[in-house]
């Protein structure tokens, strides 16, 4: 069933792809910001500082710190009209960039990400002075971790791969799956299982659904 189903892939550039579910999930991630102007009637929605603001129009005061989703930050950000100023999250800051350039393999990108590459690429939209270093670090991180992803995905056959996968970011997981599929397909062919006719996963799921209907 996997073959006939082709979901929209992630954009991974400075623009995400509109219909990609992974990109929508990625852009939900919070981004630290500071409001540069007063935002009227938005204190209850945006700020945890809502209780503090006793002003009549329920406004979010200028200079308040916010944690807003990437999509909203991107929508409000403009380098002419200063509504927001965006800060880099800590894993994209200099200290973590140094850690990643020392050895990218030891970092748990799932815990820090889980959309490290996608989110990082999106951050380039905010014209930070560190953009060049940021993009360079993201690229170098990928290059540094490539060998390990390749080796583990191409060698671990019929094993529980959850330990290997646990530290990979979402993009790397997809890559790992692609490598595993190539290996598994080849091993199946070599053992002569490719020529055997098996029930389609569609049929198997259909049967399962019938049983669950009986239960209820």
């Amino acid at each position: 069933m996997g073959e006939a189903y082709t979901p929209v892939e992630t954009g991974l550039g400075t623009e995400e792809s509109f219909l990609s579910l992974a990109d929508i999930l990625m852009s939900q991630e919070r981004l630290p910001c500071r409001a540069e102007i007063k935002l009227p009637r938005l204190a209850t929605v945006l700020g945890k500082a809502a209780t503090a603001s006793a002003s009549s129009d329920n406004a979010l005061p200028e200079g308040s710190k916010l944690e807003i989703p990437l999509w909203l930050a991107k929508g409000l950000y403009d380098n002419k009209r200063r509504i927001l100023s965006v800060e880099l999250p800590k894993i994209y800051k200099e200290s973590w960039r140094t850690v990643l350039s020392a050895d990218a393999n030891v970092v748990d990108l799932h815990k820090l990400g889980p959309y490290y590459y996608g989110f990082g690429s999106q951050l380039l939209n905010f014209d930070s002075p560190e953009n060049t270093e940021l993009a360079q670090t993201i690229l170098q991180t990928f290059i540094g971790r490539f060998r390990r992803i390749m080796d583990s995905s191409q060698n671990a056959f019929n094993e529980d791969t959850s330990v290997l996968v646990a530290r990979l970011d979402e993009l790397e997981r997809a890559l790992f799956q692609a490598g595993q599929k190539g290996l598994n397909d080849f091993q199946c062919w070599e053992k002569g299982q490719a020529s055997q006719i098996t029930a389609s996963s569609l049929i198997q799921n259909y049967k399962k659904r019938k049983f669950s209907d009986l239960d209820s």
Binding site: L12, G13, T14, E15, Y117, S121, L124, N131, T132, A135, Q136, I138, L139, F142, I143, F146, R147, I149, M150, D151, S153, Q154, L171, A174, L175, A178, G179, K181, G182, L183, D185, F186, C188, W189, E190, G192, A194, S195
Partner: protein
């Protein structure tokens, strides 16, 4: 592409059989075959050879390269060189598997051949991983892999192209000016 599809292409390769029946020349879309005479060698595509073998209508002659000494040479050569060496057949893996599965009684020292081919395959795949790694590290944009066979490309191809695709996008992020310009049109 599935390995089974690579196998499908490999089945077009010609092999020599010794039939035990007689039949006139047959005219197939992909070329004419035969005539078939008992005891006389004739070249047919692998798919037909396997079919006839399963119906016990022929004996298969192993290809010239499917020989312990030659395969040992190939394996040693492969280990010595940094790049990929030419293989005796573009479908050496598929031919070995099919011939050893269906006509193991016609191939001398079948087990040794199986081991040698598997060793060669493992060497080449390890080499492929090594070169892919250095390719990515040096951020190259193109490479030449003349002597890789279809099956080898196929097992790591999807992974490699996907990784390079990601790398390309991450690298173009470094030049923000260009993408911004194209948005204006």
């Amino acid at each position: 592409m599935d390995p089974a599809e690579a196998e499908f292409l490999a089945e077009q390769e010609l092999v020599t059989i010794i039939p035990n029946f007689s039949m006139d020349r047959i005219y197939l879309i992909g070329g004419d075959l035969g005539p078939f005479n008992p005891g006389l060698p004739v070249d047919v595509p692998l798919w037909l050879a396997i079919n006839l073998k399963q119906r016990q209508k022929c004996r298969l002659i192993p290809p010239e390269w499917m020989d312990v000494e030659k395969l040992e040479q190939i394996r040693d050569q492969e280990r010595k060189e940094d790049t990929f060496t030419p293989m005796p057949s573009p479908f050496y893996m598929e031919l070995t598997k099919l011939l050893l599965n269906y006509a193991v009684d016609n191939i001398p020292k079948a087990d040794e051949i199986r081991t040698l081919v598997k060793d060669t395959w493992d060497t080449r795949i390890a080499k492929l991983r090594l070169s892919a790694d250095s390719f990515v590290r040096q951020q190259e944009a193109h490479a030449r892999l003349d002597n890789l066979t279809l099956m080898e490309i196929n097992t790591t191809g999807a992974f490699l192209t996907q990784a390079l695709d990601h790398m390309y996008k991450l690298r173009t992020n470094l030049q923000p000016g260009e993408s911004a310009q194209s948005q204006d049109f």
